[in-house]
């Protein structure tokens, strides 16, 4: 399997090694801080992609699990310690995913997406309401017994392990079944697969990694507040996933790093930041509907068209075929 996917594995490993070495070349507090956040977003987006990109069930509220993980640490880290509070966050995220996913995965239509969009907004309000527990609008401070550099390497390890696990799942028989579900649930069921079980399993895996990352996010921010549930948090992940290329894992993985830096770069523009982000999303859909992961195949195709003088659009099938070829080296 490693030999077969050496392209994507190579990119993941190379980036991880580069990031591991980076502080020895440049230990700028600012850059390390952004990279720590990018490590977390890489896992948030990849864990989002295994559901939304692979099963076709669009999760519009991935912030839900991130927030649950973050608040678990915020509320419990003093009494239970960091590791246990992170674990509680993971368990709660999985439990919530099960409660949401079990009934909604069976339904056709937008019910799953609508439910995932609404629930973080509800928790956003609850965080304000139960201020004795959550600190209300002020949130909770999190004392972190790790230095910035130690936290950087913790998130790097979390990123590497999580992305590898999700990547191997995506390329396994299970991943192929998820892709089949996205294409045609009825046909997938008609060849003996319990479609609801696979969709739910993907959602639980997604919640696991997002909940874990949420706990680490609380450590990074040294604080957790209601804004962790904001719609923009989920929208950012959605944009990263779409720009990167849904259903590829490697595309969203790379776009998480790219767009985290872009977001920092745009911070100075303030009121234009959201506009630029939205514009980027629209542009990427128009120019690269299959995301950055297909850029290699797109460029190759455009050179071919110039030679032939045609202007055919690249079919998603051709892009995927090209992606598979480049992936297997």
């Amino acid at each position: 399997m490693i030999k077969k996917y050496k392209g994507s594995l190579g990119i993941i490993t190379l980036l991880t090694v580069t990031l591991a070495i980076f502080p020895f070349i440049n230990d700028s507090f600012y850059l390390i801080s952004i990279l720590t956040l990018a490590n977390l977003y890489a896992v948030f987006v990849v864990s989002w992609d295994i559901v939304s990109g692979f099963t076709g069930k669009l999760n519009l509220g991935h912030a839900l699990f991130i927030g649950i993980g973050a608040y678990s640490v915020g509320i419990l880290h003093d009494s239970l310690g960091l590791i246990l509070s992170i674990l509680v966050g993971v368990v709660l995220s999985i439990l919530v995913a099960f409660i949401i996913g079990k009934p909604t995965m069976k339904l056709h239509g937008p019910f799953f997406s609508l439910t995932t969009m609404v629930l973080p907004l509800i928790l956003f309000q609850l965080a304000y309401t139960y201020r004795n527990l959550t600190g209300g609008e002020f949130g909770l401070n999190v004392s972190v017994p790790l230095s910035r550099m130690e936290l950087y390497y913790v998130t790097l390890a979390y990123m590497f392990i999580s992305v590898l696990i999700i990547f191997f799942i995506s390329r396994s028989r299970t991943g192929k079944i998820l892709l089949a579900i996205k294409e045609d649930e009825t046909a997938c069921s008609a060849i003996g697969n319990n479609v609801e079980r696979y969709k739910l399993m993907a959602f639980l895996i997604s919640a696991f990694f997002a909940g874990l990352g949420g706990g680490l996010l609380a450590l990074y921010l040294r604080h957790v507040g209601p804004n962790v549930f904001e719609l923009w948090q989920s929208a950012t992940i959605l944009i990263m996933g779409i720009v990167g290329g849904m259903g590829t894992i490697i595309g969203p993985f790379l776009s998480a790093y790219g767009l985290t830096f872009l977001s920092e770069w745009l911070r100075g523009t303030e009121e234009y930041q959201d506009l630029i982000y939205a514009g980027l999303l629209i542009l990427s859909i128009l120019i690269l509907p299959n995301g950055l992961a297909s850029v290699g195949a797109y460029v190759k195709r455009k050179f071919k068209e110039r030679g032939k003088g045609t202007d055919d659009n690249v079919s998603s099938r051709e892009l995927n075929e090209s992606l598979r070829k480049s992936e297997s080296g």
């Binding site: 045609d184 319990n194 075929e321």
Partner: protein
């Protein structure tokens, strides 16, 4: 031995009785054809049997176990598999992967993986295993549909117009495959409009019209049945289909 029974199966959409009180039974090892004009309810009957749609009333019994309204994947695990009128390949997966993700009713994933190459060779797709299913021509899509169905190791196979869109040579080739499958012990029910090809394979024909079973007999009796003739009377496609 009665292997499969449909009892008073009915499906109502508003005022339309798409399947109307249909009952029949199938013995193990039979090869049965289902015929009827377009819109007669044949495919809907398959949907009700295979769990794609729940019936309004009635029962479906397989090997003495009621499977009415069960989820399609559970019915497959009981040994009943169906193919679709229009092939439904997973276009973004290769031919090999399309079969790889099938869940057999009898074999483990590991045991099944060993069979894939043999299955694809059997249906004539051995050389196209790494090709994306979305790029296959119509005839090969039918073969892929067959390979996926066979990979479930069914006891009873429901085929919905497997010859649609195929030329004479392809029909001949596919017919041979179906007869081979039947010889290997699979009980088959086949819906077909290509009556000449169908009559060469089956020993029994069920005719459906307006959702109702109007005939159930040997092929020669069914094609001369007054109700069956009336169902096709005035429809030139009946005459064309029978002579081609």
């Amino acid at each position: 031995m009665t292997m499969f029974q449909v009892e008073n199966l009915t499906k109502v959409y508003g005022k339309v009785r798409a399947v109307d009180d249909v009952s029949f039974s199938i013995q193990k090892g039979e090869f049965v054809g289902i015929i009827g004009p377009n819109g007669a309810g044949k495919t809907t009957l398959f949907h009700l049997i295979s769990g794609v749609q729940p019936p309004t009333s009635g029962k479906v019994i397989l090997n003495n176990e009621e499977i009415t309204g069960k989820a399609p994947h559970l019915i497959v695990q009981k040994g009943l598999t169906r193919t679709f009128q229009v092939p439904r390949p997973f276009q973004e997966l290769t031919v090999h992967e399309n079969v790889e993700i099938v869940k057999s009713s009898k074999l483990s994933v590991h045991e099944q993986a060993k069979q894939i190459d043999h299955l694809l060779q059997q249906v004539g797709l051995g050389s196209r295993q790494s090709q994306l299913a979305g790029s296959l021509p119509q005839g090969d899509l039918r073969r892929l549909e067959m390979a996926r169905a066979l990979a479930t190791n069914p006891d009873l196979l429901l085929l919905d117009e497997p010859f649609a869109g195929l030329n004479t040579a392809e029909i001949e080739s596919l017919s041979e495959l179906l007869l081979q499958m039947h010889d290997e012990g699979i009980t088959i029910i086949i819906i077909e409009h290509k009556l000449k090809a169908l009559m060469k394979m089956v020993k029994r024909v069920i005719a459906i019209n307006f959702g109702q079973l109007i005939a159930d007999d040997i092929p020669q009796e069914v094609v001369n049945n007054e109700q069956v003739l009336k169902a096709y009377l005035g429809d030139r496609s009946w005459d064309f289909a029978y002579n081609h």
